[in-house]
Each structure stands twice: as C-alpha cells, then as structure tokens.
Amino acid sequence: MGLLQKYEAPSEAYTDIRRFGADPFNMRFDTVISPTEAELNGGRVILIGTNNYLGLTFDPECVEASVEAVRNFGTGTTGSRIANGSFGAHLAMEAGLAQFYGRRHAMVFTTGYQANLGVLSALAGRGDHLILDADSHASIYDGARLSHAEVTRFRHNDPEDLYKRLRRLEDSPGDRLIVIEGIYSMMGDVAPLKEIVDVKRQTGAYLLVDEAHSMGVLGERGRGLAEAAGMEADVDFIVGTFSKSLGAIGGFCVSDVDDFDILRVVSRPYMFTASLPPAVVASTLKALERAESDRSLRPRLQANSQRLYDGLNALGFTTGPQLSPIVAVVMPDMPTALSMWNQLLKGGVYLNLALPPATPNNRPLLRSSVSAAHTTEQIDQVLAAFEWAGRELGLLPAQTQRASA
C-alpha cells in the first residue's frame, strides 16, 4: 500500500489517454518561434490553444523592458513582499492596474490561481457565503475551500437560479459574495452581467468578476466584461491574470472598497509566496500599456475569432453558444476526442484537449484560443486541418458539398 495507491483510477485513465498517441498533458515543444508557432518533434505547429489573446509574448518592447529589468534588479526577489519588501516595479504595476481600471486599489499576486485563492479566502470567512457559478475555474473552488465560508453553487449563467439560491439564505447571517467569470474558459461563453447585477442589488450581496479570459479582450479599452456591459460601478472586485492577454505570469485584484490594503497582511497566498520577479512585472506593465493603447489588437482578435467560429460551424462541428476568442468544439465521446486531437496535431495544429470533469456537462472538448497575432492564413490552415481530421475519423461526412456559412 503506497501513498499513491489511491490514484489507481486516474492513473489507469491517464494510461488509456496515452495509448491514443501523444500525451496531451505533457507536450514538449522544441522551440517556440512566435506567439502563434512552435516546433514539436521537428515539425512546425500552429499554436491555437495558448490563451495568448493579444499575441504579446514576443512583443519587442515587452521583451526589452524585461531584459532591462533583469539586468538592473536581478533574476528574482527571493521572498515575499511582506518579508523582502516591494520593488519599484511591483508598485508601478499596482499603480498602472489601478489607473487602467479607474479604481483606487490594486494588489498583485504571483499567479492568477493565487489571486483567486488569496482574494476569496481573505474576503469571505467562516459564517459568510460564497455563491459561485457552477462552471467556475478550479482556483475559485479552491479559494472558496480555503475561506471556510459556506459555499453555494448556482446554475451556470442563470441569474434566476442565483436569485433563488440567495433567497434560500435570507435568514442566514453573514455577508454574501457572488463570484462569476467574464468569459468562461472552457466554452467561451460570457456571463449575463446586467441580470446578475440586478440580483446583487436586490439581495445586498457583493460581486466579484474574474476577468482572466476577458481582460484585453472585451470592452472598448480592454477592461473586460464589466466595461463592455457598462456595469463597472456595480462590480466590487475584479480579479485577473497576467498570463493570458498580457503574456507573462501573475494575478491581480482591483477594487474601490475601503481598507482594501488590509488584504496584504491577512491573505495567506499573498503573504507566503515569493513576489513576482521584476523582469516579469516589467514586461507585464509594458503589455498593459499596449493592451490599452493599441486599438488594432481587439478588432484583429475579433475578426480571427469570428473566422474560426464561423468556419467550424460551417463544417458541421458543434461549438460553444457564443462567439469569443475561446472556440470550443464539442466531441461526442472520449475516444473521438482523443483521436481527433492527435489527428489535428499530425495536421500541424496544437490546441487543448479538455476532459471531464474539468468541462461542463461531462463532454470532452477541443478547445482553441484565438490570438490577434494569428494570420488569416493560419486560421484557414486550422480550419483545413479540422476538416481533414473530421473526415478521416468519420466525424464529418466524406467529401460532400461544403455547407455555406
């Protein structure tokens, strides 16, 4: 009886997955050529599953800022902000985020996962209520567990269900914090923010929106769903990440609530983690400037997303309910999903294989995330690979008249 004996079932499942070909959870890129291309086993693949929405990972200005910071401040901070102090870059990043969002307070975390862990666990405590969308990211569920608050799920993107569940808690003491996401990471659907804000107002709850996948993507200035929906004043806390649109790693929370900074001495995931290396912060701050000022990025991202989404639907694949840079193709079962994913890889396309229970409704997904940096030709190559793989596997009918969009 070993310690890891309890993982017999997932271990067998993982072995089965690897029998289909490449290991989807352990890809090894030889080299990354650009935000949209890499080399894998000696061949080139188009990257369309890397959440690199604005394509800024190789932006010359971001790279230069990072190089300069590593020369001036070294490779790492070797400790947490409360122990080793803050560097100018951390303070500049927080000031930059506060300004970007037009909020009084901003706090930076070392990863996006930790931002949810650190914020949820500190905002809600024993006796409070966290009301989570059922399709929330694992970091939200884990942050909820760490909070010791009472946790209730409501049906995904369903404001009426949210209201019903809050009503059931009417007589219970404690504060209520509703947690939703701007764009949901698996299906790419968007939260009905206006309706959720109505429920928040009726029930006196607080509202937190995780804009991890919507920052830089939605809104005129890229501030996310709250901006796009015109509801920023009703969102008490925005959490986000640096590892998607901003092309680095890290997380943050912005807010206007009084005494926000107390979180710095009560949030354990903030207090007991080494702070971000200045080089990471330097590129992120530059990327934030680009995300805000380069107004050509979002229209390009939108056009690429539309081309992929429409193209896949025209081919006859089942996609998510709404257009966004996350374009998920629903697979009927695991063997089909695995065969299709491996076939796409052979066809020079790398995207994510997303499996239950990490996906909604227990359906496996082929999840792509479009970038502003993709060329039209690359999107068309991805569509051609989908068509080829779909026909090879009999998912699409053999060469017939192509449906028009």
Binding site: E150, V151, T152, R165, R168, D171, P356, P357, N362
Partner: protein, 84 residues
C-alpha cells in the same frame, strides 16, 4: 409507513442521483458515493444542486467534505432541514 425520515431521504438521494447520472442505481445508506457509484466531484456537486432544489434548501458545499456514504448525505440533509 414504518420508514424513518432518514430512509426516505436516502431514497430521494438515490432518485436524484439516478436522474443526474441517467442510469439506474442500487442505493442504500451504506453505499459509498465515490467508490460504489463511481461519481466524480463535479457530478456529486450537480447531485447536491438538484437535492437543494428538490428540498428547497441550501446544502453548503463545505459541509460535503466529510460525506462518504449516501446515508451520511441523507443525515446532513435532515439535519439542515430541521435546523430551519
């Protein structure tokens, strides 16, 4: 009519689990939810959500951490219902 409240609740849990899973189940108080029913964490949360609607009540997920059997889940539901 000799059934206790707990037995009725166990039966309801079984029915709700059957509807969420879409397959018939043989459920008793001693049925281990993860091992015997092969239910993953997400499916269990979906069953809890259905039970909340069935009984018009709130079953906080943090209370689920210690639940292993259908009987324990039934007892938790009865406890939370009588508390109101």
């Amino acid at each position: 009519m000799g059934e206790t409240v707990a037995h009725l609740t166990v039966r309801e849990v079984g029915r709700v689990a059957e509807s969420v899973l879409g397959r018939p189940l043989n459920v008793t108080s001693n049925t281990d939810i993860a091992r015997d029913l092969a239910i993953d964490s997400l499916t269990l949360m979906n069953i809890v959500m259905e039970l909340e609607d069935k009984f018009d009540m709130s079953i906080p997920l943090d209370r689920m951490a210690v639940i292993r059997t259908v009987g324990e889940l039934g007892e938790l539901i009865d406890e939370l219902r009588t508390k109101d």
